[in-house]
């Protein structure tokens, strides 16, 4: 176990270092959420007139949504890194060493979670700077970031598992789009739950993205129900475990085809 964690850490350092070496990526990873945060929230300022948002400020409502959305997409797309490693023979090089197999998968999930945590923190700071507020204070910040890290880690597991099964960049991009957009729209990221059509509200109940929205938005708005926040964080943790199991199984399936 400790060897597994040590190996995961070594792999994580590698990924983080490669990421930091490309400032363009960092910029891309931050610019997109900023555009959503600033422009989209301005565009929809008046939408709270419809009611059901639990606040008059669409910015307050939307801020935790942007954090979750950013984390979710970071996780969904992270499997492309595995495709690159497969294509370049990096995975096989490690397979011929005593490197822990599970470390190859877990390090990718941890990387996505850490990236989501850092991105989320920056988005929160910028959000507050332009006038948003997190009602529950420090506990609320932690809940938002925990939801972001869990949703990123979980979808990274799914994404890397799919990468190992499909092994093609084009297929991965198609799959990521195919899951990504529907799951975002089948959640209350952009709009208040009571305004969603009934069938979408029902579908959202089974959507980990929506669990993250519930866990993150609760503490951001007044009258936080902490029981519901913790419940959804717990569901997300189960999702992460299931995604990890899926990714590990996909890894085993991949090694059997060699």
């Amino acid at each position: 176990m400790s060897e597994m964690l040590a190996h995961s850490w070594f792999m994580l350092v590698r990924q983080a270092r490669n990421l930091l070496r490309e400032p363009v990526w960092i910029a891309l990873l931050l610019i997109q959420p900023m555009i959503w945060l600033v422009l989209y929230s301005q565009l929809f300022t008046r939408i709270t007139d419809l009611g059901g948002f639990g606040t008059d400020s669409y910015l307050d409502f939307f801020l935790p949504g942007v954090v979750v959305m950013t984390a979710f997409f970071a996780g969904t797309w992270s499997g492309l890194a595995t495709i690159t490693d497969l294509d370049r023979g990096v995975v096989e090089r490690f397979l011929a060493t005593p490197a822990r197999r599970s470390a190859l998968v877990f390090s990718q999930m941890m990387r996505a979670a850490m990236q989501a945590g850092i991105q989320g923190l920056i988005v929160l700071v910028v959000g507050l700077a332009i006038g948003a507020r997190i009602d529950a204070g420090v506990g609320g910040w932690l809940a938002v970031l925990a939801a972001a890290m869990l949703v990123a880690g979980g979808f990274a597991g799914v994404s890397h598992g799919l990468a190992l099964l499909t092994r093609k960049e084009a297929t991965m991009i198609a799959v990521a789009n195919f899951i990504g957009l529907p799951l975002m729209f089948l959640s209350a990221i952009l709009i208040a739950r009571p305004l969603m059509p009934g069938w979408m509200q029902a579908a959202a109940r089974f959507n980990p993205v929506d669990w993250a929205v519930r866990a993150a938005r609760g503490p951001a708005l007044p009258d936080t129900e902490w029981g519901a926040v913790l419940l959804h964080l717990g569901l997300l943790a189960l999702f992460v475990l299931a995604a990890g199991a899926f990714a590990t199984a996909a890894f085993r399936a991949y090694t059997r085809t060699l």
């Binding site: 190996h7 070594f10 792999m11 070496r21 490309e22 023979g89 990096v90 090089r93 005593p98 090694t255």
Partner: protein, 320 residues
């Protein structure tokens, strides 16, 4: 104890029988070549020995460890340099080596010293802190080999170490590998489809064709085992098939094969046979461009044991 032992390895990928019972042994400290055309099964054999692939049947040991039953123990004893590099291009040479050392269990000062030593040994000290993306093909390949050596393995596997290198980088790599074999008391298994490479580097070699080892021995033994001389005839265009039929009928010709515009024949006595071959070809209306006479080479060894010309098989394998 043998450094490598393979017994009856079989592997099938769908319809393709990649290995049909490969057996050989490699002694400690030896440089052993698996020579064969593309698609013969060399890489599959290597991948089984380095624990990446499980055989359908047969067993194998590396440094005494059973590669199927105790893969983790085997992985500590072996180093693997794959055909497709496997180096992290976004990281520096030093970072690549350090990570590889860490997963192999090296830590702290020992790790740093080993990394420095390898960078020095492979002429990468100056480029150590540059990102690999900017390395030349030869530098990248040397880093690959260094990665396989970081934990001082007992057995090093090199899958096509010079494929894709320009002639100059290839010659440099050969010198590097010769030095390595002498210095580190290492057992090396290398696969290659360059006859010249096997001839130059391997203490012993096995010729692999269509998933089997057809013959094994030192390059000298294999060549000495063939009587007579090798005659190569460069033909004018488009006469290959006729030439083969004409030459095969001659009594002095032991065996013959055609590979594109070249006719390869092994004959009892070169000086006496050449005039007869030429007049027979002329009589059959086949134009001849050049003729050369030589001692049998590994080319002729391959022809003798498989009945086919090496280069013709190699190009066919590449098409797959």
């Amino acid at each position: 104890m043998d450094a490598i032992a393979a017994e009856g390895l079989e592997k099938r990928y769908g319809e393709v029988q990649a290995l049909a019972g490969v057996s050989f042994t490699v002694r400690e400290g030896e440089v052993f070549g698996l020579l064969g055309p593309n698609g013969a099964g060399k890489s599959t054999t290597t991948r089984i020995l380095v624990t990446l692939t499980k055989p359908d049947a047969g067993r194998a040991w590396v440094a005494g460890r059973d590669v199927v039953r105790e893969p983790r123990a085997a992985r500590r004893a072996l180093g693997y340099v794959a055909q497709a590099s496997g180096v992290d291009r976004e990281a520096t040479g030093r970072e690549n080596l350090t990570l590889q050392g860490r997963v192999q269990g090296l830590r702290g000062r020992e790790l740093r010293a080993r990394v420095d030593e390898l960078l020095e040994l492979f002429g990468l000290a100056e480029a150590a802190d540059r990102v690999v993306r900017g390395y030349s093909g030869g530098m990248k390949r040397r880093l690959d080999v260094a990665l396989g050596l970081v934990h001082r393995p007992q057995v090093l596997f090199l899958d096509e170490p010079t494929t894709g290198l320009d002639p100059e980088a290839r010659a440099a790599m050969w010198e590097e590998l010769e030095r390595l074999a002498r210095r580190e008391q290492l057992t090396i298994l290398l696969t290659t489809h360059y006859l010249e490479e096997a001839d130059r580097l391997a203490d012993r070699l096995a010729i692999v064709s269509r998933g089997r080892v057809v013959v094994a021995g030192t390059p000298e033994e294999l060549k000495r085992g063939l009587r007579g001389d090798a005659v190569r005839v460069e033909l004018e265009d488009g006469a290959g098939g006729d030439a083969h039929a004409i030459v095969s009928r001659l009594g002095a010709v032991l065996e013959a094969a055609v590979d594109g515009r070249h006719l390869h024949a092994r004959v009892e006595d070169g000086a006496a046979s050449i005039p007869r071959i030429l007049s027979a070809l002329e009589g059959g209306g086949v134009g001849v461009a050049t003729v050369t006479l030589a001692r049998p080479s590994l080319d002729d060894v391959y022809l003798h044991y498989t009945g086919r010309a090496f280069h013709a098989d190699d190009e066919q394998g590449e098409g797959r």
